[in-house]
């Protein structure tokens, strides 16, 4: 039998010098069924054996918004004038929780799926993509719940505002938010393979970042030129949250600032995927 030693003849070549900066999109596409099933698993498994079931997805942001509305809205009067505090906080908390969710769960993928990853091969990026997608499904449900609240406020005349052409920006905002969370999560995930400390720090870090984002107060109420303002302007999540507010409750927004947020998102995703692919190669040897 003729032995052709043509390189193309092999289907898989395992080689340590393989380029780690290339993303094998074809392979991820081949595993799309797994992606769908993992998203399904995420959504199904969490709420099994709970009484409220998927309603929990709405309860958490609602309770958080209520707390914020009472403490920061009614007592500290930090919310924006002219917008009902509950609606104001929901419009910030819902996207913020989405961001926190994406970041946290992406950051945990390597450690969380360690058992799986030491036993079977699949494109590792599938795991964080799946958790990000399942988080966005929850987000859409929460957005729907928000719409119901907004409708109630609108009909009862408490908040006279109708959706405008800003609605077209919603998909862009979602994409920018996802890319910031996903990218930052991947970077943290890669670091946690070496330093577990970072995984523990992350929850605290996200909490801290929330106070440096216009979640509990609108950006317009932060005096210009101050330290806090400068932090807020550096934080790529600031234009994202402000943008969501503009779409959801009709507050004022300088859309040009979103360019900064989107650029940060793109850089984070590229850097995140690169460091993740690099960390993932030796990950199975470390745990």
């Amino acid at each position: 039998m003729a032995m052709k030693d043509d390189k193309d003849q092999w289907d898989v070549v395992i080689d340590p010098s393989r380029a780690w900066w290339l993303v094998d999109l074809r392979e991820i596409w081949r595993y799309r069924d797994l992606l769908v099933l993992l998203v399904r698993r995420d959504l199904l498994a969490v709420y099994k054996q709970t009484i409220l079931g998927p309603a929990w997805q709405v309860v958490q942001p609602l309770l958080t918004s209520l707390t914020f509305a009472v403490i920061f809205g009614f007592l500290a009067r930090m919310s924006e004038a002219g917008i009902p505090p509950l609606l104001f906080y929901m419009s910030g908390v819902v996207p913020w929780l989405f961001f926190a969710n994406v970041t946290n769960r992406t950051a945990q993928t390597l450690v969380f799926n360690a058992q799986l990853m030491t036993k079977v091969y699949y494109p590792r990026l599938i795991s964080p993509i799946a958790t990000t997608l399942s988080s966005s499904v929850s987000f859409l449900v929460q957005l729907g719940a928000f719409a119901l609240f907004a409708l109630y406020y609108h009909l009862s005349g408490l908040h006279a505002w109708t959706l405008g052409k800003e609605l077209a920006m919603l998909p862009v905002l979602v994409l920018v938010l996802m890319s910031i969370g996903f990218g930052a999560g991947l970077i943290v995930a890669s670091i946690t393979t070496k330093f577990r400390d970072f995984g523990l720090l992350l929850g605290f870090g996200i909490q801290l970042l929330m106070y440096l984002s216009p979640v509990i107060f609108p950006l317009s109420r932060v005096p210009e030129g101050g330290v806090l303002r400068r932090f807020l302007e550096l934080n790529p999540m600031t234009p994202v949250i402000e943008g969501f507010r503009a779409v959801l409750v009709g507050s004022a927004m300088d859309w040009s600032t979103l360019v900064y947020g989107a650029s940060c998102g793109m850089v984070l995703v590229v850097v995140g995927i690169l460091v993740f692919q690099r960390a993932e190669r030796s990950f199975a040897d470390f745990i």
Partner: protein
């Protein structure tokens, strides 16, 4: 049958770090960085030098320069002792970790079964887990759908399909996992010790499906501690020894050399009179195990003879007793034979003499046994030789059955009547 090379492993090396891996603390790194900034020596090197060296300096080569090729349709067995690199090579082949150096090339779809039921989620039902597990192992959804009925039938848990698998027994989970695995249809299948789980009936089912995969011209790689399994299932084998490829070729030769090399088996021992184990009165000069099977192979279907050569230096009466203790590798005593009780007392001449004990055919099971000889006088132990003989019994190949080791320390042939 197609005989082209489907797996080519070229000069593969794999290095692991020794010591506490993956858990270095941030504080350590920060203090090191701080010291570097002040141009002071790294504190980690000052304190507990040895400890730190173990943590970062030492590497361990799990594989060194391993090369081999597997042709399509081969069933390749990988033998070797613990730590020889068997699992490492499987991990590299299944792309779980990357080689440090070298290259592996594969042709066709590869599925590896390093574990059964990988990725099962306890809250999901059996049916949902079939889909999930199948997808994790690389199956397309449509593929799972077309095979669903077969998978369910194979698993034998039709009635619990819509129960969350956290309520399954461990046996049920294994069966479900294997049912999915058995329907993977890979071109290359990698199996690690899967034979060790499940009851005999289930093992038979698994082996049957492995045979089916092999018969359809696909390639199987099998790692097993059980040399018998490799011997019976594989047509070629490689032997890994401390990370290096020691031998590759036909199963028979590889397995034989492997068993010869390792003290896994000690069929015979001899000692010179001065160094022989024993006392002033009696010494053991040699011990030897022989089987009456053709070619001297140790088959359970033939009697096994254990022969002792003794040097009698001072026993003039009939008060000497020998006990032969037969146990398995995990120290389970199969039985003890007491010479005095079996044949009564014997008069011993001074000088050399031979005593033998025959274990009838169809008493031992296949697998490893250790024989310990205990010499007694006046009901007191004179001396004892542990593991005087260590051997591996084999069962003759029964044509109609796939290889299955029957459980139990012995496997006597009994008479059944009705």
């Amino acid at each position: 049958m197609d005989q082209e090379t489907v797996i080519r492993v070229e000069d593969v090396h794999k290095r692991y770090r020794l010591g506490i891996i993956g858990s270095s603390l941030l504080t350590d790194e920060v203090s090191a960085l701080w010291a570097r900034m002040r141009r002071r020596p790294d504190p980690r090197l000052l304190v507990e030098k040895a400890h730190v060296q173990q943590r970062r300096g030492q590497y361990f080569w799990a594989l060194q320069g391993v090369s081999f090729e597997v042709r399509g349709g081969d069933i390749l067995g990988i033998v070797g002792r613990n730590g020889a690199g068997k699992s490492t090579i499987l991990k590299l082949l299944s792309r779980i970790s990357l080689p440090t150096k070298g290259r592996i090339q594969l042709k066709g779809k590869l599925s590896s079964l390093l574990e059964v039921g990988t990725g099962f989620h306890p809250e999901l039902t059996g049916r949902e887990n079939i889909y999930l597990n199948g997808a994790i192992l690389g199956m397309r959804k449509t593929e799972i759908e077309t095979k669903l009925d077969e998978i369910i039938a194979f698993s034998g848990i039709e009635h619990h399909l819509d129960t969350p698998i956290k309520r399954y027994s461990s046996g049920m989970k294994v069966r479900l996992g294997f049912a999915v695995a058995a329907h993977l249809d890979p071109d290359i299948l990698i199996v690690d010790e899967v034979l060790a789980v499940g009851d005999a009936e289930f093992q038979r089912k698994c082996l049957g499906s492995m045979r089916k995969v092999a018969d359809s011209g696909r390639t199987i790689l099998l790692v097993s501690h059980n040399v018998n399994a490799v011997h019976n299932l594989c047509n070629s084998a490689i032997w890994l020894d401390q990370g290096e490829l020691r031998m590759s070729g036909g199963t028979h030769e590889v397995v034989r050399s492997y068993l010869e090399k390792y003290a896994v088996e000690t069929h015979a021992q001899e000692w010179e009179a001065e160094h022989a184990p024993g006392t002033e009165e009696l010494r053991l000069l040699g011990v030897k195990a022989t089987c009456e099977a053709p070619g001297g192979e140790l088959l359970t279907s033939h009697p096994l003879r254990i022969e002792f050569e003794l040097l009698n230096l001072g026993i003039t009466d009939d008060d000497l007793n020998i006990n032969l203790r037969v146990s398995t590798h995990n120290e389970v005593v199969a039985f003890v034979s007491n010479m005095e009780r079996e044949v009564g007392r014997m008069v011993w001449e001074p000088g050399r003499c031979k005593v033998s004990c025959t274990i009838p055919a169809y008493l031992l099971n296949e697998g490893g046994y250790r024989f310990t000889a205990i010499f007694r006088r006046n009901n007191q132990r004179l001396f004892q030789v542990n593991d005087a003989v260590i051997l591996e019994m084999r069962q003759e190949n029964e044509e109609d059955l796939p290889y299955v080791r029957r459980p139990g320390v012995v496997h006597p042939k009994l008479r059944w009547e009705r």
